[in-house]
Symmetry: D2
Subunit: 377 residues, 4 copies
């Protein structure tokens, strides 16, 4: 078994989620590479030292450029705010490193295109952490669609609802709050939450043709942590859009951080000619399924407990009935990435695939400004 | 269309439920008889007048014996406390009237046996208002079992949970509270709630062989409304029992009025070799169904919305998706009773069938006293 | 108690629902008027005779104009296809009759305006059958909002999903299918289903400022029952729209008859600063409620079983825990209408209120054509 | 940070669950000891080598007695069939090792008593892996009860339902199937599943006074993997019992491997004077809570998503809304064990606490034979 030596940039929420995935993956999956936590990198020496110790990273760096130059690193994992992705990815590609980049790929589609071209030119393996594709219930949904179980698709609807920014006292920017700072995040819920919905939608239901969007910033001014002053809020607090897919189906998408009672309620539902499926992140281990081909009076929505050995990824875990959680989606993504290293097929979504999501996000934000339908191509 | 002239004794909760059933049934069902609200009877003239006016009864009586003697009455409906059922039923049978008796049939199995013999001797149509058999989801469950969809049955479990007597300030006896008075009710939750569970169980799963029961009276003394004094409480506040059915399946039953948060949560579940079903009264328009013969990874509990035209009784009501409620079970029971009048098959449960429930209740209460398993035959 | 003599036009699904309401209302509510089923009217003599017999109408008419002229009729109930509402309502207003008109009010806002002016000029009581306002859970939602329990509203979302027109073999037009015929219905799901969602939304959340809509007709041609030929389908099979309310909240609305697995799934959710509520028609006896003011770790969505005596309308029915169904919303509406007859306040929604819904429907359909946001005022 | 050097005996389902806990615990919890996977032990050299490699154990043993004698091991983890627990535990205690023993503690209460005395005499830290106490929702339930949120308890009910042994073709005994072999397991569902329910019940609701039990073996004979012959099945396939607790509450317990549709449905519900709670293992990240002190018409069962930082253990994991799974209960148990090492309070349940469960199990099995109520003390 060969080593896959990871160089991690960032130590926040995603830094932990990815580190956990690397630490666990070889316990549960038989793979051609062993993930090795080679080096952790962040500007703050004390914090990165503590992080490295907690997770067992063999070394630390405080300058990401140095990390990228190291010969004993095979892959760079970018877990920093969105406004840093491009520069790091371009440098890592140039250095010939594999890249695992946190989502969204970039601040916008223009940046994304640069990044795609960089990795394609360099010929390095690359992937974006749209982890929800690998929640077993979601992967299973993809299988059902690909098998034709649903038939012609009429409707797709997705939402990602949170409620953590309702208080006007919450500042923008700084540790843990950079997602509220348009300078660091590029957009609000569109890049943070809808990007997840869009990635899954494109994967499950194909390309989006056009969109009509609407955004709102409910709290217009917040104290900025970095400047210490009250500043205009530049992000979108909420965003909803209508869409038409290439396959003729209609869609509604919505995201907000002002939906009281929902912490991370990512949901989607797909209605097909023969069957429908629905899923949500608050009960991520279940898939709802309705099949019109069932015997008439016995038709009903099935609540499938996705914990059996014949459900995607589940044979690697426990026994039927025992659920896994959020973090496992990252383990699955690492497993698939490692499986792909020596193969020809890229683990998905790669940068090029994630760039499609950037285009839709741009179209949505443009439409919200123009008041018109915009092409998402 | 002939008339079925009803003489109603009692005007309480059940008096209203039955009256509503008679008033509605011919609007929704095509039947050989038209239910006619001929006379209402109760001791309190003022109250029975008001009741008759509200429901459109053509006349009133204040002496049930007179009602029973009237020539223009075809059927007597007994909606009075349990300790009056026997005397009324015996008189009505003697007078050659059809009898529709509120459940439980009687104070105990000995009384029930007298009543059975009386109606059988008189050859009058008779029925007991175990209305839950005719909630469409429950009737559908019966069909599925009879079709063999479940295969060999391993388990039956039923509960009826309420929480309305937790306060020690609630008196026993008197209007609306006779169910707490052992003199009027015979027993507490056993005759009131478990009787429903047992009736359904016998219908769905066959005879009960033996039981081991436990009862408890949590509030030992309550003011008695009639005497005005604090008196010992004679009823069982809670009762649970284990049972073995003739078909080899095992069962648990439980009932209480001390289950905080449940108003009328009657639930049952049946586990068979091939399939399982579950139902509850708080969402009476749904049936939960699991079929092991479904394709492996797609197996799940189906939540069947029992509102389609091919579900029992539902073609008589609205359109798919639109639910009916509690009261409709009584309408169905009247419809079936009317259908049975000119036929040879009695509408079920008749007295003889309801007497089986009395036997099980007696066995449970006896077991709770003896601390041993008791035969329910 | 005075009589309210009803003249019913139409005998279909709604004719039955309204008749049942008139027949039941005085059994459960103490009211100043008794609803009397005076006359039923339809062109087909045989059918209207059968209908009148089933429901106990005292007489029949085959010409609605004659019905409207009758002196012994106080109120006209219009249960015919949408393209007849205006003419009938204008005539009834002229004749000085009260009018209870099935929804939607009209084919479009222009017609609606004529109707409003007619009843206002005539000074007759008028009401439109948006029955869902009087599902107790929905009425309770209104109370909670009016009490300020939710605080500032951020989001409203509503859907009405059905699946009964997926088959291409279904014809358009004719008995039971006029809702597929644009000539009779005016529009498809917009007027049929979204109109319900919009009426409730306006009632709960105030006026809608502007909308961006999208419609689709999935099956482009269907056999027309009346002509016997395959004809272009003129209705919208599906419609979704974004909206901005006067109170600053954002909304998504969606309706379709192509959502496999949903029969009549009308749902709405409202997210406020302090609390959120959600409801759906498939479990109409429940209200979901989340209150952020609950003790932190104990916060959760409450599933409130709307069957207690202190829930709207429920003291008139059974006991806690026992649910009512779809039909009861019509009973409540009749009860409120009767209460309003001698008062100054109109039972809502009256024509003028229902006209607001027509305006939103028109704006949505216009936006779907123009590809732009349209004012809903 | 000191090392806690683990010697693991067994490599099955529980061997993996415990190993994962040791491997993860220091990534998420700040603890005084670091769990070190020192040695894995099993008779089959090839299998234990593979297991050790997968999990990173530093060494292997094939003789558990040798493992126990090793000076570089601090704690012995017993993950072997029930019939080996006693001998291993006695030896480990004698060798002065801490012991973490898989549940149930022993084959019966007599063995359990020997084990308790051995660890108490040796003064070694000891714990039994009743992991469900540390599912955050269950721990939270304990907190609520201890705070008095529920008030006087009236009812406790628990079930553990599975369906994996319905096929008569399943053999008894051998790898993965020793739970069907009475010689290895001691009992069937009683020791395997009900033991979990009883442990939680005793923890949440105090001591059990007496029980009335019933057992059944549905499939009477199965091929024995070891002998190759069809042999009588000695275990209980299903077991249910009634119980009375010291606090006066009534209980029902049930367990089976013949409940079609349920994989590992461990559920419990507790009804108190003021509030009730319910939980189930199929959605282990939720707690259902009803509080009668809520404002009347707003009372409802709350579905609490146990993912907030103020829920037990959850601040160590991700962010609100993101659920953890089954395996995390083991991580929590290791964390608590490690915290307890240098303290005076034993991490619970220790052997003495787990012995109480053995006594109840014995009483249940005795009652099932005697047909009488038996003391559980």
């Amino acid at each position: 078994m060969k080593d896959l030596r990871i160089g991690m940039i960032g130590y926040g929420f995603m830094g932990r989620a990815h580190s956990n995935a690397y630490a666990k993956v070889n316990h549960f999956f038989d793979l051609p590479y062993r993930a090795v936590l080679k080096a952790a990198c962040a500007r703050d020496k004390e914090k990165v030292d503590a992080f490295a110790k907690q997770w067992g990273y063999e070394s630390v760096e405080t300058d990401w450029k140095k990390l990228i130059e190291r010969k004993d690193i095979d892959a760079i994992d970018i877990c920093t705010p969105n406004n840093t992705h491009k520069e790091m990815a371009l440098a890592a590609a140039k250095a010939g490193k594999m890249i695992l980049c946190e989502k969204p790929l970039s601040m916008n589609a223009a940046e994304g295109e640069e990044m795609c071209q960089a990795v394609e030119k360099a010929g390095v393996k690359n992937m974006v952490w749209y982890n929800y594709r690998r929640v077993p219930a979601v992967t299973f949904a993809k299988q059902l669609i690909d098998e034709g179980k649903l038939g012609r698709i009429f409707h797709f609807r997705a939402k990602f609802l949170q409620d953590w920014t309702i208080s006007a006292d919450l500042p923008q920017g700084g540790a843990g709050l950079w997602r509220l700072d348009v300078g660091a995040a590029g957009s609000g819920v569109t890049g943070d939450l809808l990007a997840h919905c869009i990635d899954t939608a494109l994967w499950l239901n194909g390309g989006i043709k056009s969109v009509s969007g609407m955004t709102e910033t409910f709290i217009k001014e917040r104290k900025h942590t970095l400047s210490g002053k009250v500043e205009k809020v530049g992000i979108d607090d909420a965003c909803a859009f209508l869409a038409r897919f290439d396959n003729g189906s209609l869609a509604t998408f919505e995201s907000t951080r002002y939906a009281r009672g929902h912490k991370a309620l990512y949901t989607f539902e797909i209605n097909g000619e023969h069957a429908s499926i629905a899923w949500d992140l608050h009960d991520l281990h279940r898939l709802q399924y309705f099949d019109h081909r069932d015997e008439g009076p016995l038709r009903g929505w099935r609540s499938i407990h996705i914990t059996d050995g014949d459900h995607p990824y589940m044979k690697h875990w426990w026994v039927p009935g025992l659920q896994i959680g959020y973090e496992h989606s990252f383990v699955h993504q690492v497993a698939d990435f490692i499986e792909s290293i020596d193969g020809k097929q890229a683990a998905q979504p790669d940068f090029r695939s994630a760039q499609e999501t950037q285009k839709v996000c741009d179209a949505v934000l443009n439409s919200a400004k123009s008041g018109k339908w915009e092409s998402a191509k």
